[in-house]
Structures are given as structure tokens and as C-alpha cells.
Amino acid sequence: MIAQHVAAARPAPGRTVPARPARQATRTLRRSGRLALALLVILAFVSPIYLTIVNAFKTNTAIASSPASLPVHPTLGNLSAALNQPGQVLELGLRNSLIVVVCSVALLIPLGSAFSFWISRKRTKTRAAIMVAFAAGLMIPPQITVLPIIKILTLMGLDHTYPGLILSNLGGGYLSFAVFVYVGFMRSIPAEVIEAARIDGATGLRVWWTIIMPLVRPATATVGVFLSLWIWNDFLNPLLIIGPITGQTVTVGLYDSVSNQVQPDYGLQFGFMLLAALIPVAGYLLAQKQFRAGLTAGSAR
């Protein structure tokens, strides 16, 4: 169909072909023009992050007078002020966020992949029904489930606790996402690979761990990166499930600390934001190669 349309496109008649050196010059010009445009677009994407970095090292007067420049007299005052807030909001927040992310992702990956392996071998009808139920998880807004989840956690005696928050992360949208990515990848694993292992008498769990998991490593990278970012950046669930008493994750701690300022102290804000964003940004930059491979392969299916 596409070929047909392409064939219908006739060359413009009488187009003059410039002499060779001139053509080369145009090409170079066009190439650098493209790169300049691309740089401009990326500048728009990174400017808030750039502003956070440079302003974290400026005094409030310097931020007001030259908001976009590099720090002329760099100061570490904002960073140390952020680290020395009453109650150690930043340090405790970073620690709590790390615990929540590591525990949640370390449980979601095996649960999601084993579950996907299990349903990928069910009959088509069963599989389709389960996938519809899991698609709902991607769609249902957390504002609808968070109030009842707190009630359920209260019944379990886990309200306002980190185990409760981690447990609630295991159901819902995060699990749906993991299952969708893994099922997509597992569809391409030939059935003979699994059958051969099973004739040798390997159990389902053993096949999953020794054969399937190594084959779906790009999916694990994608799921791991996305879930870590989402759980680290999650605001609503820790805000309401943990509450104000126990000590919060870094994302909620940042919000509390900034929204409690009577007079905005932008220097302190930028210092706090820089330290709060450091771990996810560094993690993404380190993992982005694997993550991109998984994303590209996944979308090809």
C-alpha cells in the first residue's frame, strides 16, 4: 500500500541540479543547521535541570540578579543548609526512598516475570482474560485506590509503615507494567526451549529461573529502570500511606520542606532538589543503554 503511494509521487519536473561544490556547501550548511536545531530542542529539555544545578551553588541575591548564569562565586551554603535541616529531612528521605525502591523493585521483578511466564503458557482465552484485568491496572488512577488501601493496611496492622507502602506497591499499576513488558518479551521465546528443559524433569520455577530470566534480560532492564524511577518519584502514596509522623521519602520530604517556607528560600530549594534528583538522574544515565535496548526491542513486538 505504501509502495503504491510512493510510486504516485512523481519527481518535480525541471528541478535544477546545482554544481558540485555548491551542493556540498549546502549539505554541510544543512547538516550544521540541523544539529543547531537539535541542540536548541535539547536545551529546552535540560534547562530546568541546568538551572537547578547552577542555582544550587549561588546565593539568593545571585539567583535573583543572574538566574541563568554559571555561579561566579560558587557557594556550598545551599547544599549544607539542605543537609542540616531540622529532622534531617533530606538524609532520612534519601535513605527511606532507597529502601522503598530497592525492596519494591526486588520483589516486583521476580513476581512479575514468574507470573508472566506462568500465564504465557496458559490457554489463549485464559491469558486474554488475565491481560484485560491487568490492563486495568495501567489505567486506574491511584487517587481511587489509595483511601481503601489505607483501610486494608490498617486491618493488617501495617498502616503508616514502610512495609505497608512496599506491600501496596506490589499490587496495582507497577505490577501491570512489569507483566505487560515481560509477556511481550516471552512471546518470542520458542516453545521447544522450554519443552526440552521439561523433558529433563526441570520444575516450572527452575525453567523460569535458569532459562527464561537470562533470555529476558533486556525486559528486566526496562522494567527495573522504569519502576525504580516511578517509585522513587511517587508522591501521593507515600504522602498518604506513610503520613507525616514517621519520616518521609525524599520526594514528599522535599514537598513538605518547600511548601512550609513562609518566605521562599530559592537557594535552599535548589540545593535540596539537586541532592534529591542526583540518585535517579545518575541511575538513569548509567542504565540508559540497557534500558533503551529493552524499549526498542519491546516496541518492535
Partner: protein
Amino acid sequence: MKLLRSRLARLDTGLSAVAALTLVLYLVFLIVPVLLSLKTSFTNQNILFPNSSFVGLANYRQLLHDTQLRASIEFTLALAIAVTIVANAAGLGFAILLNRTSLSYRVLRTLAFLPQVISGIIVGFVWSWMLSPTGLVNHILTGTGLISQPVNWLGTPQLAQLSAAIVVSWVLSGFTTVVYLAALQNIPRELYDASSIDGANRRQQFRMITFRMVAPATTISVVICLITVLKLYDILTALTGGGPAYATRSIAMYIINVGFSNDAYGYASAIAMVLLALTAIIALSVTTVLRRREVDL
């Protein structure tokens, strides 16, 4: 055969147990909460009346006369439509621009995703500073003489709504760019080569090849943008806090306001059901329409 199957079933008990555990978690922390929310929406549950009673459709009747809710729904829907259009047009354009194999473009592609990496709270705070009277935007605009007086971009309802649309579009453009880049990299090179031989120009190639080949990615990208904006909470909370005069309060923020600040759980649950219905209807109908479009193109 039967014997073999039963032997295999025995081998699978461990795996089935893990799968069952996963299903239970999904039920307890997603399906059951939705049903509980539905049940609560028919009660007058409230922090003052822990022993709530069934009130039938009273909460739903109240919805019809809630002008604050109507304002929230109108704002959320307008934001969803505007942001989805802007982020998808920009994302496709940026993806085409960045779809080059050299190292500099690979670095730029990595950076394009950064708005997705930082939390919505940080995005909201940085932009609220940028748009404030003393912030960067006014600094540039007054510095270049485009405006004489600094403008509070978050100060009036209309400007705040416009600012919110720009900020959310900025965040989601990073996401759509990555989605469209993945789609572009899967288009066979030969299609372009063949069309060049046939004499197609750049614009024809875009219309006949690129636009059609990214149609499945468009479906995914549009639906995810819509769902994301419909449940948007953190960016708006940090950017505007829902103001001024509740002009930028999303439905999701209204639910939490009613449920937690006013402790009216029953009524908050009824609003939550409205959001759920809206999300489901929009996601399903847009998916159906766009899937059909993929075939037609």
C-alpha cells in the same frame, strides 16, 4: 498423555504458587480497593461518622450540583486534550530531528528523556520559580525589552492554566520523543530508498512513509498522555497548588482535597468513580478509534 500432564502439573506447583501469590496481591491492592471505593460512594462515611450508613445515590446527586467539580473536570479535560496534541506533535517532530546515528545525536537523545527522570514535585517547583515575578522567564522577557513589567505567570486563572499546559507538555514531550524515536528506528530503510528512486520529496516521504509507519506508536503515545494528564497530581500540586481560585485543580487533586482535607470519604469516593469512568471511557474509545486508523492508513 494424562500421566505426563499430571507429572508436569506436579512440577509446576512452585510456579503456580508464585503466580497465585501475585494474583492475590493484585486483587488485594487494586481490584478490592476499587470495589471498596464503589461501596463507600453509596455511604455518608466521614471522619465524624465512622459508623456510616447507606445513602443510596445521594452522593451522586450531589455531584450534579457541584460547581467546583465541574470546574475541575473542565480544566482536566482541556489540559488533557491540549497537552496530548502538543506533546505528540512536538514528540514526533523532535524524534525526526534526533533520528541520526552519530554520537552527538545519541547523547542528545539520552538527554531528551531527562524530564521524565526527575520527580513531578521538582518539575513543579523549578517551573514555579521560572514563571514567578522574579524568575527566569520574566528576567529574559524584561531583559530583552519584550515586556516592561514582570508578569506573574501563575497569578491569574487564565495565565496559570496556560502555564500548566506548557509545563505538562514539556514533561510529556520527553516521553513521546523517546516513544517515536523507537518507532522511527523500526522503519525499514528500504522504504525511503525505494521512494527516493521513485522521486518522492521529503514532505511526501513524511506523509506516505513516516506518518503511516509510526501509527501504532501514536496510539500508545496518545493514550498514555491522556491517562497521565487525567490522573495528574504531583506536578500541579508543586506548580500552582491548584490555584489561583482553584483554576488549576485537577479532578485527582479535588478527590484528595475532599477525602483528606474535608474527610468526606463517601463523597470523595463518588468523585473517584467519576474519574474512573471518565478515564475508562476516554482510554477505550480513543484506543478503538486509533487502532482503526492504524488499519485505514
